[in-house]
Subunit: 223 residues, 2 copies
Amino acid sequence: MPELHRLPILGGRTAPVSRAVAEPGQGDPLSVAGAAAAVAPIAYLDDGRAHREEAQREELLQVGDLARECGKTVRAIHHYEAVGLLKPHTRSKGRYRLYGRDAIARVRWIHKLHELGMTLTDIQEILALWERAPSAPDGMREIRAVYHQRLAAVREQLERLTLLERELFASLRYLDTCDTCDPNLLTARFGDAHHADACSSCTHHVEEPEPELVAGLHAGGHT
Amino acid sequence: MPELHRLPILGGRTAPVSRAVAEPGQGDPLSVAGAAAAVAPIAYLDDGRAHREEAQREELLQVGDLARECGKTVRAIHHYEAVGLLKPHTRSKGRYRLYGRDAIARVRWIHKLHELGMTLTDIQEILALWERAPSAPDGMREIRAVYHQRLAAVREQLERLTLLERELFASLRYLDTCDTCDPNLLTARFGDAHHADACSSCTHHVEEPEPELVAGLHAGGHT
DNA sequence: ACAAACCCTTACGCAAGCGTTAGGGTTATC
DNA sequence: GATAACCCTAACGCTTGCGTAAGGGTTTGT
């Protein structure tokens, strides 16, 4: 992975619902929202399918709603669709994308895997694995293998980063002592208080070796 | 930061010295290699400048040597120079870049800061800060501020990644139980053992809620 | 003098993950 | 029926950190 993650900023808008898209009205087969959660516990083992279908009967989200709920941009959602990570549940007459609430879970899933260092393509391949699997347990086995690898990579990264964090911290403590340094004294000694050697010869940390994160500054520079 | 780090692979060549560039010969003011390290301890506080100048009298490295010693490519070194992170100590008559051994420290410094999530531009700005500082202590103060910020960012990243690592690990354990699942039983129950509900209704983890990293698979898919 | 290894500069290429127009419909509200 | 606020598709743009030629010298050894 290239560098550290800079997390996306959440959208600024307030209202989580759009101008009442797909509102509960008669004639529309896609609207009986509510109660699903209350019924689920019983239906759970009896028929997960009914449970799931009910979930889809809930109010649908426009792409903007989905984006806001996930802290993504509309463009990002479109992009995910383009690379095969997501598909709208339906389209309105005007070809507006309409998503079920489960799309939120999907987008968050994408987000997390991405934070875990996978590319969108990698993630797509996971979906492909899952879809091509002959049975659910088979699919899960394959997913598990991928996750397993990722876990190893993440742990490696964590170790590296932890070491670097310590180094950085140590360097900061080293630099703290520089504050007690009087430029005039250095000038007296070296003529030019800015000279690279002024620091490495400063008496405040004679014993301490200069940390690499500090030494690099006055090493073979561009100066 | 975009994703996780994939560390560069070290070069394959064996010999760390090139075909004897800038060999100790007469007439060349840049060659008295050796002894420097032995003299240094005494000169250290007396005159850091002499110490440093001696270091530069050591044998010089060609760009290929430098690259190999740092696990970078020649192209990368060139690039660092292009963005103002590094400059050859000298050039040969034929315009070959010749670096002092301290360039190694510089490149490693660049590498570490990069791993810590800074862009090359960020790193260049650190150098600029240092060079523009009126005195060494002043410079160090500015550097410290930058490092301080970085430390905070890195720690944030570590926390996020640690949480995600746990989630991933938990998901793996959840998936382990899938292995004990018999596709035939699922088929008997759902007709299609691959159906998304087959897994979420599997009796093996009735109580356990499905981890997000698993739920995302069969949520609002591209299927 | 010639080959093997290097090195030089210039400049286009590339992967990722969206950002950003550009031009043009759609929905819901007033 | 006129807005405002959204949404659609298509497609080029951008950033980072080099990779990869392309065309041509330089060093060193034999």
